[in-house]
Amino acid sequence: MSRTLAEKVWEAHVVRHGSGAEPDLLYIDLHLLHEVTSPQAFDGLRLANRKLRRPDLTIATEDHNVPTVDIDKPIADPVSRLQVETLRRNCAEFGVRLHPMGDLEQGIVHVVGPQLGLTQPGMTVVCGDSHTSTHGAFGALAFGIGTSEVEHVMATQTLPLRPFKTMAINVDGALQPGVTAKDIILAVIAKIGTGGGQGYVLEYRGRAIENLSMEARMTVCNMSIEAGARAGMIAPDETTFDYIKGRPHAPSGADWDAAVAYWKTLRTDDDATFDAEVHIDADELTPFVTWGTNPGQGLPLGASIPDPEQIADENERVAAEKALSYMGLEPGTPLRDIRVDTVFLGSCTNGRIEDLRAAADVLKGKHVASGVRMLVVPGSMRVRKQAEEEGLDKVFLDAGAEWRQAGCSMCLGMNPDQLAPGERSASTSNRNFEGRQGKGGRTHLVSPLVAAATAVRGTLSAPADLEN
């Protein structure tokens, strides 16, 4: 029977099929942990006197709470410090490998896994973090789970789940210069809405997807959850194999050949059908930015703030009115006229080396506009090291940006890197929810290229605007 990629990976992990309303029991190949969603799960194990079943399929890092300056000092916020210390104690007690602050392999959990070669095609990957969808870029079935499920995976290395429906996101054509993976995914979310992917695994396909680098594919899959889908996938190909080969945990020798032979079977059969299909023409895409308070409220940079009164659907109209009031924006304002206070380059969406290179390329020989602060936060310490070897840190510092240590940083208001009330950002992160980057903060989601150009001009801009 012909099957989609998602169905193949699912089927290969079924420990037992549920009967009737009972879900399937799915085996989990890799469990990623961080300090925020794990403490209550470890506590649950202790209370029930249960063991961590597979510490050898579990790895932890510190990312959400960590400061990105002065990391050699104790974390100033005692509550954050306790959470990080709790992770350290739990990992020591249960025998989990942990990369703590300051370690070369520390960083955002979704940057660390792929970089170590732990994320491979056809695997099931979970983490108590909704951006686990990132790992789907390798053709893995990867999704975020809640803390009860974290505990469940700890105790059993499985999860009871009902099969997802499948949706093909066909992105045909070729991207124009200056248009990136981030613009693809923002356009997808604007098209299908924040609930459009609910209950589905998205499979991104088509020539524009095939032509993306591995890191760009991670950017696309990362934001699947912002369209409501727990997982997004891309079929593995030579780009995938080249990226994995030689990484610390990649198979080698005869194992490599066996793995690649299997990985090559991981594609949707030609005659398989999806439960839903969406088409996007890459040729038509331009840099995309958000204007509202959910990631579906986005438009091409050349557009203007929409008028809520023109929106027919009542819920959407009310949502748009509330968003504009929160964002302090007027209908009809060209997006390019919006002035920002802060530019944030980083996160599990856009904190990889290619993202830093793209932004540095725009910033080289230029300066961040006066009154604008720019934070550059590598997704991992290894990304930071590589950027420094390439001299990118100097480009950022010469341009007047801040060069930080690795972590989730300003993607979420949980560590010292936050927006002040009313402060406006152009951010390469993934969520523009009210207060996401700090109470009262106003977020516009953008690509690294738009972030860099915006930093230079002080208003939402694309690199092409710098040439005029």
């Binding site: 009737g20 085996y27 190949d29 959400h64 973090d129 975020g144 290395q157 727990r230």
Partner: protein, 200 residues
Amino acid sequence: MEAFTTHTGVGVPLRRSNVDTDQIIPAVYLKRVTRSGFEDGLFAAWRGDEHFVLNQEPFKAGSVLVAGPDFGTGSSREHAVWALMDYGFRVVVSSRFADIFRGNSGKQGLVAAQCSQSDVELLWKLLESEPGTPVTVDLTDKTVRAKDLVAPFEIDDYTRWRLLEGLDDIALTLRHEAEISAFEGDRQTWLPTTDPLQAV
């Protein structure tokens, strides 16, 4: 988990769509390492506004939240469910729930009752015109009842059964331990482990 059959409490109309988990509980409130006390973070930004529904009597004592579509989008934080339950909510009614939120609710015993949007609108009108109206949520016949209104809701059969019985997922899964072990014995040997690599 505590079993749930039926619950009657004050209904709270929350006329908003896309209530994401950063609104339900902002990240700054996620730092606790214990399982209780998250009620202080519930809708923290909105509760600063005296007009917010939970700052009004009799809604303060609400236990059935009636919200707009796409409730619980965004982050996987189960803290969103804990915050609602620690505050005193036992049920959220919406016409559409985000998948992870719905899953987390089922694990904790918070009923995510999916009603039609037209029934949500009727509930909103009723709760706003007669604040304090008791709402009964009956998991046995899958209905939300308030005065004359009877609104059917959807919830998947397996979650419903677990909620009615108050069953712990992990204990259920561990009944199949032999099958898990058998599956593990058949896994490809080249699959990665997280064991630290030996320096070469």
